[in-house]
């Protein structure tokens, strides 16, 4: 267990160093493009900062009010329809890039959240209320209704299938 933790810990630093290496290579090949990328990076950081702060706040609150028993009851194996509802609505209401939600979801998973609900949460991030006017403008209302229906439906199908695949793999 400790070995896995150290491996994971090293992995994310290696990943960061590799990306920094890519910037260095680009700087040698095309300095202005590397500079442009770096400025884009700073811009993204600025945009993402409030979302990251929001996620950290949620983590703090969940640490205060939620415990493994409560999470298992609402999002665990026996959560049923309530679990699907929470993860689908949570996915729709969540803002920012999906990777910003990794820490919170990973913590909930450690405390008993079903894999199916994590999948449903991620898939429903495709349905965004704030984007609806834009979608209607480009594609029309009937398109938006039909697409949203299928996305929610497939989030459940994918969630169920994920657990079946993981069980198969575990048996192997």
């Amino acid at each position: 267990m400790k070995k896995i933790f150290i491996k994971k810990n090293k992995g994310k630093w290696i990943f960061l160093v590799l990306v920094m290496g890519l910037y260095l290579v680009l700087a040698f090949v095309n300095f202005s493009l590397a500079k442009e990328s770096f400025l884009e990076f700073l811009g993204l950081l600025k945009t993402i900062f409030p979302i990251f702060a929001l996620v950290l706040f949620f983590m703090f609150i969940s640490g205060l009010f939620l415990n493994a028993r409560k999470i298992t009851r609402s999002l665990g194996k026996n959560a049923g329809l309530k679990g699907w509802f929470i993860s689908i609505i949570g996915g729709i209401l969540s803002t920012g890039p999906s990777y910003m939600w990794y820490p919170l979801l990973s913590e909930l998973k450690e405390n008993g959240m079903r894999d199916a609900f994590i999948v449903a949460f991620f898939y429903n991030r495709a349905v965004k209320i704030s984007i609806l006017p834009m979608m209607i403008y480009y594609f029309g209302l009937s398109f938006v209704i039909v697409l949203t229906f299928y996305m929610v439906l497939f989030s459940i199908i994918n969630g169920v299938l994920m657990e079946k695949f993981l069980k198969l793999r575990c048996k192997d």
């Binding site: 890039p97 984007i131 994920m162």
Partner: protein, 141 residues
């Protein structure tokens, strides 16, 4: 709620932040690089009008593309205006928002390799199936 509980929760949050911070920094840097190196006009050149290849191309491009979901709808809308098929556009948008090739290393580290690979593969296939189903349903309405 005691002060000790608040302190415990705060320390737990800081630990999680320390765990995830280098990874998120790496992903943001990679996304910035991708957004600068690959211009948006690149997508317009790719589609040929083939009914089978275009949706596959749409889903593949969406899988490797990065950005806010709103960007995918804007680009998708423009594709549609330029004559790209609806199936290809839907596959592109759905893969954009649900498949994360660039985030795959981070997702694997957090949720496990099997989980990340299966989730992304299923999202890719679903993008194609939903594209077909949506187009078919709309043709009946």
């Amino acid at each position: 709620m005691t002060l000790l509980k608040v302190k415990e929760s705060f320390i737990k949050m800081l630990k999680s932040f320390k765990q995830i911070f280098p990874m998120i920094l790496g992903i943001i840097a990679l996304i910035a690089l991708f957004m600068t190196v690959v211009p948006k006009s690149f997508y317009n050149i790719i589609f040929t009008g083939n009914k089978i290849i275009d949706p596959l191309l749409g889903a593949t491009l969406g899988s490797i593309a990065i950005g806010q979901p709103i960007t995918s709808y804007i680009i998708g809308g423009e594709f549609l205006n330029h004559g790209v098929s609806l199936i290809a556009v839907i596959a592109f948008i759905l893969a954009w928002v649900s498949v994360g090739t660039i985030q795959l290393p981070a997702e694997s580290m957090v949720f496990g390799k099997k989980f990340a690979i299966i989730r992304n593969l299923m999202s890719f296939v679903s993008a194609l199936i939903i594209a077909v189903l949506t187009t078919l349903t709309l043709s009946f309405l």
